[in-house]
């Protein structure tokens, strides 16, 4: 007869506690360190971003209007204005002397999605409806979004918008909409995509022509940059050290909004000299 006894409750509990502690330690050790993300670190050859020169910016809000027109953000109108639930992928932020935005100086500043390298919205999305693409763009799969709005609560820049109701168009006719951008259903979150459809078109053209994409082609590619009358907005690839954007990002005037949070925003503001 064997004298081996079955494990006691105490032994089982001790083993379970040790396993849990080990797993927790392993998780802590492998936790993502809050280190700067190098160029191209999003996994692909590109890392698109944007620079906004606040010295050049006229505060004319042409970028706000162009963005809405390009991306099929429906016009508000009187009735929808009364609902006080506007959607502005590109908006104007009025810096406050006592807040983290004071480094932008005085006067309103255009504020798109920051397309962070370590986006909080992506971390919290329960279904992967928002993701950091290989090109560094934080994109959204509208069809997959369940409308939980966790990404909106998590975004420190509050740059995400929820479709509180179905988009309506003047006269009920959306035929004036841009065919390259999908219309969003009610109940999903949407945001700036850095005009990803334009980026894809340019790179597809380059692939067909077997020619590289020049930095000059990219600089005014998104609708906001293309429309800006003062050329205050510069788009580009931060993975390319020779791009105009990379040089602007190294400018002594360049700042990132709420950089201390460690989200790694890819939109740089060039502080006004005035």
């Amino acid at each position: 007869m064997s004298d081996r006894r079955p494990p006691t409750r105490r032994q089982v509990l001790t083993l379970a506690a040790a396993s849990t502690a080990g797993a927790a330690l392993a998780k802590t050790a492998s936790a993502e360190a809050n280190v700067p993300v190098p160029a191209g670190a999003s996994g692909g050859p590109h890392r698109f971003g944007m620079a906004i020169d606040l010295d050049r910016c006229l505060r004319c809000q042409a970028c706000v209007v162009a963005c809405a027109a390009e991306n099929n953000v429906p016009p508000l109108g009187q009735e929808r204005s009364a609902l006080t639930r506007p959607i502005h992928w590109m908006d104007m932020l009025i810096p406050d002397a006592g807040s983290a935005s004071s480094e932008l100086g005085q006067g309103p500043a255009p504020i798109p999605c920051m397309h962070c390298d370590r986006p909080e919205c992506v971390k919290v999305c329960p279904v992967g409806a928002t993701y950091l693409g290989d090109d560094g763009v934080v994109a959204q799969i509208w069809d997959r979004c369940i409308g939980c709005r966790y990404c909106m609560a998590a975004c420190p820049y509050s740059r995400r918008y929820f479709n509180w109701t179905l988009a309506t168009w003047p006269g009920g006719d959306p035929s004036s909409a841009n065919p390259n951008v999908a219309l969003r259903p009610a109940g999903v979150v949407e945001k700036c995509t850095l005009c990803q459809h334009r980026i894809r078109a340019v790179f597809e053209r380059a692939r067909i022509d077997d020619a590289p994409v020049a930095d000059e082609t990219l600089q005014r590619l998104p609708a906001c940059a293309a429309t800006c009358p003062a050329r205050a907005i510069t788009f580009g690839d931060l993975a390319d050290p020779q791009s105009a954007l990379s040089k602007l990002a190294k400018d002594p005037r360049a700042v990132q909004l709420l950089a201390q949070l460690g989200t790694g925003p890819k939109v740089f503001y060039l502080r006004g000299r005035r």
Partner: protein, 489 residues
């Protein structure tokens, strides 16, 4: 002999059905017109994106976890006085979990798409995954299994009496003969299920506390205090609910079904402990916020004292303080009776809702990292009707469950089974079942999490989260396998 329902019961049922109907109507309106019919608005544009639904989700889940944890501890203690706690707590906890799940569903912009997308693509990296999977698989299913297994001896007795529920009672008590071996198994299963349920219950509560308290730019110290305050206050609210339910059961179903005076005193002491700690956490978090260098944090803390949220904040604090003082005074006199503890419990419930509301909403309207204009949030009648409808549905489902498994115990096990009954076949099957569930859950987690990928973290294949959920359900039924496996003849 069939007893006719009393007029009061019929009136209560009619009221609940009416409230449920209004709730369904309001929810249909919300689906048809969009969430524009709620009081929620875009963060940064003068509103809050999470409102009453998420507040009530936190309220229900916190209550459910606390009540179920009380049931588990009561079963641990093997104190006959506390057995009533477990009997009353389990169905109440189930109703709370159902309420929490429905509140989350009501909050989604696309509820049906949510069920589909969560089944296909849910990401374990999101705190919401823990609440979604745990509430569905562990809290609801595990608690149901625990509840039925713990009452099988009573069900066997009830099944001998003629009633409408007799076939179902016979089904649930099938095979129970009350032998010494069965009673021994029941004790073992009760112990292990109670032990394993507590961490499984805490997981969604901690995840929800993180969802409520962790905000951009909020430093670690106030965040941890808020998380601790959320968990402790949920515990206090749960104990308060349990006290109220015990008093109600004692009044409606007789003294033998309710809680003894000693049980009220024990729960009263637990309520005093959790209330005092949560009060300390809330005050410390407010002080840490007020003296924070972070503008967003101090703005949020100031908003709690301002005109916008001040009345609610002070009301919550006064409720907590008065409840704690009442309990402390009575405990010193050794007079922690049912009436006083239930009063303190009701005050705690009010404080829980107010605290969760402030923690969730005030940060969105007044604590943003960038200088957007301060906002406001007030729930519309649609949100209130939907929440009341959910509450009515939970109560309507609770009533038949009380008829199926009445609170009053019939099977008195006067002495515990002694000696160790070795049944290797049963143990082997149970261990294999447990390992199978663990493997499924682990596999589902690994496939869903796709650990190691940096950017686009889709599951390895669509539906991987379902594998994880099925694994959890298999794990939750391990106790049932051990107890219900037929004996080797």
């Amino acid at each position: 002999m069939k007893s006719r329902p009393s007029a009061a019961l019929v009136a209560v049922l009619a009221l609940l059905v009416a409230v449920l109907a209004v709730g369904v109507f309001a929810f249909v309106l919300q689906i048809e017109r969009g969430d524009v019919v709620t009081g929620m608005r875009t963060v940064g544009a003068g509103g809050a994106v999470w409102g009453l639904y998420v507040v009530m989700d936190g309220f229900f889940l916190g209550l459910g976890v606390a009540v179920m944890a009380c049931a588990c501890v009561a079963r641990f203690s093997r104190d006959r006085n506390m057995e009533a706690v477990a009997r009353i707590a389990m169905p109440v906890a189930l109703a709370c979990f159902l309420g929490a799940a429905l509140c989350v569903l009501a909050d989604q912009g696309r509820p049906l798409a949510a069920l589909r997308s969560l089944s296909l693509f849910a990401r374990p990296q999101s705190p919401m995954f823990v609440t979604f999977s745990s509430v569905g698989a562990v809290c609801l299913f595990g608690s149901l299994v625990h509840c039925v297994l713990s009452r099988r001896s009573d069900l066997a007795e009830y099944a001998k009496r003629p009633s409408l529920w007799r076939p179902l009672q016979r089904l649930l008590a099938a095979g129970y003969r009350g032998s010494a071996a069965e009673r021994h198994r029941r004790q073992q299963v009760g112990f292990w299920m109670s032990l394993l349920m507590i961490p499984a219950l805490l997981a969604p509560l901690v995840a929800l506390a993180i969802i409520f308290a962790v905000r951009p730019a909020r430093p670690l110290a106030p965040t941890l205090l808020e998380v601790a305050g959320f968990i402790l206050l949920s515990g206090a609210g749960g104990i308060g609910l349990l006290l109220g339910a015990a008093a109600l059961v004692g009044r409606l179903a007789g003294r033998e079904a309710g809680l003894a005076a000693r049980g009220f005193a024990q729960l009263g002491k637990a309520l005093l402990f959790t209330l005092s700690l949560s009060l300390a956490c809330i005050v410390a978090a407010e002080m840490a916020g007020l003296f924070s260098d972070e503008p967003a944090v101090s703005a949020y803390a100031r908003s709690l004292l301002s005109d916008a949220y001040g009345p609610l904040f002070w009301t919550a604090l006064v409720c907590l303080f008065v409840a704690a003082m009442l309990l402390w005074g009575a405990a010193r006199r050794g007079a922690l009776g049912p009436r006083l503890t239930v009063t303190a419990g009701v005050l705690a419930q009010g404080a829980v809702i107010a605290h969760h509301y402030l923690l969730l909403v005030a940060w969105q309207t007044h604590g943003l990292a960038l200088p957007y204009q301060p906002g406001t949030y007030a729930p519309t009648w649609i949100e209130c009707a939907v929440v009341l409808g959910i509450l009515a549905l939970c109560l309507l489902l609770l009533l038949p469950s009380v008829r199926l498994i009445p609170f009053a115990p019939l099977a008195f096990e006067t002495q515990l089974a002694e000696g160790r009954v070795v049944d290797r076949r049963r143990t082997l099957v149970t261990v294999l079942w447990f390992l199978g569930g663990l493997s499924l859950a682990g596999l589902g987690f690994a496939l869903s999490a796709r650990l190691g990928t940096e950017s686009f973290q889709d599951p390895v294949f669509d539906g991987s989260p379902v594998v994880f959920i099925v694994g959890l359900i298999v794990l939750a039924t391990t106790g049932a396998v051990y107890e219900l496996l037929p004996e080797n003849k």
